[in-house]
Amino acid sequence: MKVLMKGNEALAEAAIRAGCRHFFGYPITPQTELAAYMSKRMPKIGGTYLQAESEIAAVNMVLGASAAGVRAMTSSSSPGVSLKGEGISYMAGSDLPALIINVQRGGPGLGGIQPSQADYWQATKATGHGDFQILVFAPSTVQEMVDLVSDAFDLADQYRMPAMILADGMLGQMMEPVTLPEEGGKAPIEKPWAACGHGGKREHNIVNSLYLTPDKLESLVKERFARYEIIKEKEQRAEEYLTDDADVVVVAYGASSRVAKGAVNKARELGLKAGLVRPITLWPFPADALNRAASHAKALLAVEMSMGQMVDDVKLAINCQKPVHFFGRTGGMIPTPAEVLEQIKGLV
């Protein structure tokens, strides 16, 4: 039978079931239940829960554990994720897998503690300094939070890069029924690059992001970007809802996609041809799904809990072939289905 779980706790349990035994974190609302859950479970299963002195220390502990070849993760909320940017950049530059969870809250600065999607730019474009990307997943239900955790770990390992689950305070705090996966589904992949002691059996492994020769650094970055192209081709995910005949295509992810879907349903009841493209991966951005929907739509409408961050990617993905409008609330405000419906009506 399904169990009722908070999003934050479901993320934690899913990570454990995906084989993660090393969690390093720092308390911050609204993700703290995740760390609290880990502190309860990890000691009982021989894992590590460590409350670090800072977000910076926590992410670098993840770097160390990941360098040693184990599955490691950290979680935080917006201001804390800013601090983690350094470690994420180093992990990207060292080709290390890791899972970072951001249960977003309002910003900038200390901002607020209510749900927000104002870290889209940070997650998809500027998690840290340098030329790099990370995988970004955007669940919209507690069940999807569970499902995406193991996918995020698997793909992070496969492509040797950090992955982020970009959630928000609503998803973290809400309870929904979930089915949890069996523990230890897939066998962990070999990590011959790990710094875990060579045992006299091989050359020494170096996990490093420093390359003082420009041509060497350029070639490594280019190699990484070649990998990104493969990811863009193979790993895009989106839900396409009633888009086949939609005149107005709403584009929304995570919490705001739930609101948007409600509005699309209401629009259909009124006989308006509305549909929804819900990006599940924010990087790689699901350009294919958007182009399919945009090919026959009259207009697109990005709905976000921000001042408009994903909307630019929507325009880029469809190369501005159709008008792309925006509606958003920010600062912890959650748009209502009625507000979104009004926007749809205005575009039909």
Partner: protein, 250 residues
């Protein structure tokens, strides 16, 4: 022919980039020697920090990880928690350990993290060209204290061994130097003990090595050693600051 001297196997053949008269080379050798004597090269993972010693990952033949500036002990914590059977050490300078990485240092120490920390204190930022370090002496002229370190505005040096020895998680805190044969021998024993402690699960061990930076001090190698003896050792007395025989782990 009889071999009377050889390079420890834990050092690679890569030519070191350190300046003439810099003591990094000696300390590298002492670390390598300790790992070799304890027979843990195959289990050792070193953490290189940001600073002159950043490229020590090329010089030690054990597995190596290069950490963000100041975060070496957080990275070491992750490595050790992931694989407690490994022997983990950090190799950090004063800017890394006692300025940008102060929080990571203090908290790894107070957690009694079972790692070995090699701390090079040369009272200056070497890699970036000779700016004031947290351990620069009062009155010391550096690129960013051109009139000498004014304690009214730039504050006082951080005495790392003294500071850390107040923490219950620290098993061993010792300050050594490598200015002469006698002191090199003391340093050799201290570094070996710091690794031995980890192997025995005793907890956090730190060896602070007073070191020279002839290039950025603007002195010849010989003058640099003399400056260290006359200025640094009086301010940073050598010795054992803390040594918990049974370790700090219950």
């Amino acid at each position: 022919m009889q071999t009377v001297f050889q390079k420890p196997s834990v050092l690679t053949d890569a030519p070191m980039h350190y300046c003439p008269g810099c003591t990094h080379g000696i300390v590298h050798r002492l670390v390598a020697q300790a790992l070799e004597e304890l027979g843990v090269e195959g289990k050792a993972v070193g953490v290189a920090s940001v600073g002159c010693s950043v490229m020590c990952y090329d010089y030690f033949s054990c597995d190596m990880v290069q950490a963000p500036h100041g975060r070496a002990q957080a990275v070491a914590t992750g490595l050790k928690r992931a694989r407690p059977e490994n022997v983990i050490f950090t190799y950090q300078g004063d800017g890394d350990l006692a300025a940008i990485g102060t929080a990571e240092t203090v908290h790894a120490a107070t957690r009694g993290e079972n790692i070995t920390v090699i701390f090079i204190n040369n009272a200056i930022y070497g890699m970036t060209g000779g700016q004031m370090a947290p351990t620069s002496l009062p009155g010391q002229v550096t690129q960013t204290t051109p009139y000498g370190r004014d304690t009214n505005t730039a504050g006082y040096p951080v005495k790392v061994c003294e500071l850390l020895s107040t923490l219950d998680g620290v098993a061993l805190a010792q300050r050594v130097t490598v200015n002469n044969v006698k002191n090199v021998n003391i340093a050799r024993k201290a570094i070996k003990k710091a690794f031995q402690n980890q192997i025995e699960g005793k907890g956090y061990s730190i060896i602070e090595v007073l070191s020279t930076c002839p290039t950025n001090w603007g002195l010849s190698p010989t003058e640099a050693l003399k400056w260290l003896e006359e200025n640094m050792i009086p301010y940073y007395p050598l010795g054992v600051y803390k040594d918990v025989e049974g370790g700090v782990k219950k």
